[in-house]
C-alpha cells in the first residue's frame, strides 16, 4: 500500500524548495478530506435555501398576483376545480392543527414516559429489547401506517365509538402519535442519559425518592433535550403526508369533534399536485401551501431554538 509507506517515511525537512513542496504534497490528501467534510457541513444550508428558492419560485406568481390572501386564510371553501375556483385553506389549516394537537397530546406523555422508563427504571436487558423494538417502530414506512389506519383502526373506531366514519381526526391522531413516539423516545432518552450520574447520586444522598429524582432533578437538567424531542415529534406530525391522507378521511371541513373527518395541508398537496397543469393557478396555489408549511416548520424550529437559548441564559445567570 503506497499511501502507508509514504506516511511511515520520515518527513522531509522543509529547508529546500523541493522539501517544502514535498511537505505540502504530503498534506494534500488531508486538505482534500477537510474540504469534502466542510462541503458536507455547508451542504445543509445550501439545500435548505435551494428548496425554499424552488418552492417559492413556483408559488410566487400566485402569491404576489391574483391570490387574495384574505380569502386564502379566512375561507373554508377549498374548491380549485370549480368555476371560478376557490382557494380557502382555513379548513385545511384547522385539519392540520387538530390532527397535530391530538397526536401530540397522545405522543408526548407516551414518548416521555417511555424515555424515562428506558433511561432510568428498566434493567439493562429490558432496556436493550425496548430500544431495538422502538427503533423498529420508527422504521415502519408511512404507507404501512396508512394501511393500518384504513383496514384496522377504521372499523375499530366505528365499532367502539359509533362514529359515522372511522377515518377522522382520532384515527389520524393515533397513527401520527404512534409515528412520532419513536422520535420522542430516542431523542428524550439521549437527553436523560446525558445528565451526569453525580446529579442522581447527589439527589439520592439527600434522600430523594426515584420519582423526585426524575421530576425535580432530571427534568430540569435535561429540559433542552426533552423540548427538542417534543418539537421533533411535532415536526414529524405536521409534515407527515401519506399516512394522514389515508387516515384522516380527507374531508374539507373544520372538525367539530375528534370523530369528524378532516383534510390536512400536506395531504392536499399529495392528492392534487399530480393532476394539475404545471404553471397553472391550482399548481401554484399548492406551492403557496408548500411555502406555508415551510414557514410553519421554520417557526417551530425557531421557537425551539429561542426557548432553548432562553433556558440556557437563565441557567447561566
Amino acid at each position: 500500500m503506497s499511501v502507508t509507506t509514504a506516511n511511515d517515511a520520515p518527513p522531509p525537512h522543509p529547508t529546500t524548495a523541493v522539501g517544502r513542496l514535498l511537505a505540502r504534497a504530503g498534506r494534500l490528501p488531508e486538505m482534500a478530506i477537510e474540504l469534502v467534510i466542510r462541503l458536507c457541513g455547508y451542504s445543509a444550508i445550501f439545500f435548505v435555501f435551494a428548496i425554499f428558492f424552488f418552492v417559492f419560485r413556483e408559488g410566487a406568481p400566485m402569491l404576489m398576483g391574483e391570490l387574495g390572501l384574505g380569502e386564502f386564510f379566512t375561507s373554508t371553501n377549498w374548491n380549485p376545480v370549480s368555476k371560478p375556483p376557490h382557494y380557502g385553506i382555513l379548513a385545511l389549516l384547522s385539519g392540520t392543527l387538530s390532527v397535530t394537537l391530538l397526536s401530540m397530546s397522545i405522543a408526548v406523555p407516551l414518548g416521555l414516559g417511555a424515555a424515562i422508563y428506558v433511561s432510568e427504571f428498566s434493567s439493562p436487558r429490558i432496556k436493550e429489547t425496548l430500544k431495538i423494538t422502538i427503533e423498529m417502530l420508527a422504521a415502519i414506512p408511512s404507507i404501512v401506517w396508512g394501511f393500518i389506519a384504513y383496514m384496522t383502526l377504521n372499523p375499530l373506531i366505528i365499532q367502539l365509538t359509533d362514529a359515522p366514519i372511522g377515518l377522522n381526526v382520532l384515527n389520524a391522531g393515533i397513527i401520527l402519535a404512534l409515528m412520532s413516539v419513536p422520535v420522542i423516545v430516542s431523542v428524550g432518552e439521549d437527553a436523560l442519559k446525558a445528565v451526569p450520574d453525580s446529579y442522581r447520586e447527589a439527589a439520592l444522598a439527600l434522600g430523594a425518592s426515584r420519582w423526585e429524582i426524575v421530576y425535580r432533578v432530571l427534568f430540569p437538567a435535561a429540559r433542552n433535550g426533552l423540548l427538542a424531542a417534543v418539537l421533533l415529534g411535532v415536526g414529524r406530525a405536521i409534515g407527515e403526508t401519506m399516512a394522514v391522507l389515508m387516515a384522516s378521511g380527507h374531508a374539507n371541513q373544520i372538525p367539530h369533534s375528534v370523530l369528524a373527518p378532516v383534510q390536512t395541508l400536506t395531504a392536499t398537496i399529495a392528492a392534487e399536485l399530480g393532476e394539475t397543469n404545471q404553471g397553472g393557478d391550482h399548481y401554484r396555489v399548492l406551492f403557496v401551501i408548500g411555502i406555508l408549511l415551510f414557514v410553519i416548520a421554520f417557526a417551530v424550529n425557531l421557537t425551539a431554538d429561542l426557548v432553548v437559548k432562553g433556558i440556557r441564559g437563565k441557567q447561566n445567570v
Binding site: T76, N77, W78, N79, P80, V81, S82, A91, Y150, N154, P155, I158, D162, A163, P164, I165, G166, L167, L245, G249, H250, A251, N252, Q253, P261, Q263, A271, E272, G274, E275, T276, N277, Q278
Partner: protein, 304 residues
C-alpha cells in the same frame, strides 16, 4: 491484483450475453414501440386488460399503463409525456388549447365504451333505490338531506344516523361527471365530503362504513358492497345499472369513456387503437363490466 483481474474477467463473461441479448430489440427506436397510456382511474383496469391481451399478439409493442385520474392523463398528454390519455370526461377547451400550444398537435377524441355510474352503499344498509334529486340534495351545495331517516331509511347499523358522503378527489373524471349529471352545471358539491383517490379505495371504504354512500363506475361492483337502483326522479321507476339499461338509455347516469391521442394516431398507437375498437378489444370492455360501443372513429376534440 491477479485475483482482481480474474473477478473482472469473470463478470465480463457473465454479463456479456445479457448485454448482447438486450441490444437487438431494446436499443433501437424504442420510442416508436412504447405506447404510454395514463389517465382515468375508472379505466385503469380496462386499459391494463387491453394492454395485456394486445401484448400476446404484438410482443414488439410495450404498453405501460398508469392511473391517477382523467386529469392526470390529460395533463400528461398536454405535456407530451404520453401517447394515449384515457379519460372518463371530455377534455376542456383550455386543455385542448394547452396541448396544442405545448406539442403543436390537435388532440383527437375517441369513444371506446360506456360506463354506468353506480351508487354504492354498505351491505348492512337496507336501502335499495334512490332518485337523482335525492342524490343532488345529499351531495349538492345547500342540500338539505344529511340523515338517513330523511330518505325513509332505517339504517340500524349507523347509530349516528348521519349520511357520510364519499366522493372521488377533484381531479377525477368521475367527480366531474357526477357533478354534471346529478348536480347540474350551476350547482357545486357541498364541502366536507370524504374524498378518495381511487374507485377501489372508495368501494373498500364503503364496505367498512355503514353510514356511507358513494359513487363510482359499475365495473368496481363486488360482493362487499350494495349497488342501488336509480330513478330519474322521485316516483319514476328505479333502474339497475346493466349493459341493457345503459345501452337503451334507461339508466340515468351513464357516460362515454374516451381515449385521447396527440394528432391522428399513427404507427403502434394506431395499431393499438384499431385493435381496441375491433371485436377483441370490445369483448374486453364488456368483460370488465363496461358497455361496448358498435363503431367509432377518431375525431378532433372539441371540448364537449
Amino acid at each position: 491484483m491477479v485475483s482482481f483481474r480474474r473477478v473482472v474477467a469473470g463478470w465480463s463473461i457473465a454479463v456479456l450475453p445479457l448485454v448482447l441479448g438486450c441490444t437487438p430489440r431494446g436499443g433501437v427506436d424504442d420510442s416508436y414501440d412504447t405506447v404510454r397510456v395514463t389517465g382515468s382511474d375508472t379505466m385503469v383496469n380496462l386499459a391494463q386488460a387491453w394492454a395485456e391481451e394486445f401484448a400476446k399478439d404484438h410482443p414488439a409493442i410495450s404498453i405501460p399503463v398508469k392511473g391517477g385520474g382523467s386529469g392526470v392523463g390529460i395533463a400528461d398528454l398536454c405535456a407530451g409525456k404520453i401517447q394515449i390519455a384515457t379519460a372518463s370526461r371530455a377534455m376542456e377547451p383550455d386543455e385542448i388549447e394547452l396541448a396544442q400550444k405545448n406539442t403543436g398537435k390537435v388532440p383527437q377524441q375517441l369513444i371506446v365504451g360506456r360506463d354506468a355510474l353506480a351508487i354504492y352503499v354498505n351491505l348492512k344498509n337496507p336501502m335499495d333505490s334512490i332518485s337523482i334529486d335525492q342524490l343532488a340534495e345529499i351531495y349538492g351545495e345547500g342540500g338539505t338531506i344529511t340523515r338517513w331517516e330523511q330518505l325513509d331509511v332505517d339504517n340500524a347499523a349507523c347509530p349516528s344516523g348521519q349520511i357520510v358522503r364519499i366522493s372521488r378527489q377533484n381531479s377525477s373524471g368521475t367527480y366531474a361527471y357526477f357533478k354534471e349529471a346529478v348536480l347540474g352545471d350551476k350547482r357545486d358539491y357541498k364541502q366536507g365530503y370524504t374524498a378518495q383517490s381511487g374507485s377501489s379505495d372508495l368501494v373498500a371504504l364503503i364496505s367498512k362504513t355503514p353510514c356511507a354512500i358513494g359513487y363510482s363506475g359499475v365495473g368496481y361492483r363486488n360482493e362487499t358492497v350494495k349497488v342501488l337502483r336509480v330513478a330519474k326522479a322521485k316516483g319514476e321507476p328505479a333502474v339497475e345499472p346493466t349493459v341493457t339499461t345503459t345501452q337503451d338509455g334507461s339508466y340515468p347516469i351513464a357516460r362515454p369513456l374516451y381515449l385521447y391521442t396527440l394528432g391522428e394516431p399513427a404507427g403502434a398507437v394506431q395499431e393499438f387503437i384499431q385493435w381496441i375498437l375491433a371485436d377483441e378489444g370490445q369483448r374486453i370492455v364488456e368483460l370488465q363490466g363496461y358497455i361496448p360501443i358498435t363503431a367509432g372513429t377518431a375525431e378532433p376534440a372539441t371540448g364537449k
